[in-house]
């Protein structure tokens, strides 16, 4: 009976969504905001990647809220899972392939992550994608050698300082007479690595914060006690 009602609910939801969805004029989005941003972004922000201009310039406070949500989630995971008791023995170290591959991969992943973060205003990529790759780089040694856990204080320092740097750059814009998180500094020429003002710095802060946060979250999940029963 309950299954039937649930299936009916799912079918009804699908029908409703289909009726609403086919009313949209697909492929001809009005883009009232999008066109204004597209025409104004090269002069106002100076980033070749318009998505980056939206994420950090026009909707920067959204990104700050998103970082806050991520921080809350990672803190909540830490609170729920708690600290591992020292009496329980850690997992044995993994095999030779993962250990050697981890040592080889970690610096490469760091380089790739930083490359993607620093080119976020020119090419597809940026703080979130590069941050995830940085998190993988931080987490691979933990996966290879569970007996040497991640240094949570170092991660917390990186996370805290990069989060503070993001807010400080925003406050600096406020101090110099603009809006909160308004891009500062010289715009440079479109397409150069050093361009778009403070956007690469903001993305660097975002990337380090996301990387440290997700690495800490993964380490918490990996170090959680194996449940009995």
């Amino acid at each position: 009976m309950r299954n039937l009602a649930s299936l009916l609910f799912a079918g009804g939801l699908g029908f409703l969504l289909m009726v609403f969805g086919l009313q949209f004029d697909f492929g001809n989005a009005p883009m009232l905001v999008g066109q204004a941003i597209q025409s104004a972004a090269p002069e106002q922000v100076g980033a070749a990647n318009i998505v980056t201009a939206v994420v950090l310039g026009y909707r920067g406070i959204d990104t700050l809220g998103e970082l806050a949500i991520l921080f809350a989630a990672s803190t909540a995971v830490g609170l729920i899972l708690g600290h591992r008791h020292t009496s329980t023995k850690p997992d044995p170290d993994s095999g030779l392939i993962l250990r050697a591959g981890g040592e080889l991969l970690m610096p490469l992943l760091l380089v790739v992550g930083l490359y993607i973060i620093l080119h976020g205003h020119l090419t597809p990529g940026g703080g979130f994608q590069g941050g995830v790759i940085l998190a993988a780089a931080f987490f691979i040694p933990v996966l290879a050698r569970p007996s040497t856990p991640l240094k949570h204080t170092g991660m917390m320092l990186i996370e805290g300082f990069s989060g503070a740097a993001f807010i400080l750059i925003g406050l600096a814009a406020l101090y110099s007479g603009g809006e909160f998180l308004q891009p500062l500094l010289d715009k440079g020429t479109l397409g150069n690595l050093v361009s778009a003002g403070t956007l690469p710095l903001l993305y660097l802060a975002v990337g380090l914060k996301v990387g440290a946060e997700l690495a800490g979250l993964l380490a918490h999940l990996a170090a959680a006690e194996v449940s009995e029963s």
Partner: protein
């Protein structure tokens, strides 16, 4: 190309994908018997919602929203929904990690991940904290039922555990 009198267009296929993912995810959330499946269904529904958001900003005659060279006059797809999806994906993985952590605690506390068993234990816990008897359950609710008579279908406590 037509099928069953319905013209198959690109937008129909893409919307079918997005709505299909949302509906499969919603059905999984309400139908799953195992807590871990609920987390997976949540991930599926989230993927569908992200696809729907990106679809809402698509234009036929547009290029990707990245300026290359000097021709900035070419129309682009809408960058605003893409920026929102970018943040939504990263938040999604945080939510998934939180859900996995909560599932670990449920397993540690109740020793099971079966949804109906968890629900029974949870109701018993709430009733015990409130100091009332746990006579009713979802399959045998309290109160009088007009028909059929209550002894026609014997309800055993373990019958609801699938």
């Amino acid at each position: 190309m037509t099928l069953f009198g319905l013209e198959i267009t690109l937008d129909l296929i893409l919307y079918t994908g997005a709505f299909g993912l949302i509906v499969i995810g919603a059905a999984g959330i309400v139908l799953a018997h195992h807590l871990f499946r609920v987390i997976l269904a949540l991930a599926i529904a989230e993927a569908g919602a992200n696809l729907l958001l990106v679809l809402s900003g698509y234009r036929w005659d547009a290029i990707a929203p990245i300026l290359s060279g000097s021709e900035s006059a070419a129309p682009m797809v809408d960058p605003v929904p893409q920026a929102m999806v970018l943040t939504a994906i990263v938040i999604g993985v945080g939510v998934q990690a939180l859900a996995v952590g909560l599932a670990m605690q449920v397993k540690k506390t109740y020793g099971t991940l079966d949804m109906s068993a968890i629900r029974q234990r949870l109701e018993a816990d709430i009733a015990g904290t409130a100091g009332i008897a746990t006579t009713g359950s979802q399959d045998a609710p309290l109160g009088e039922r007009p028909l059929p008579p209550a002894d026609a279908v014997p309800v055993t406590p373990g019958s609801s555990a699938r």
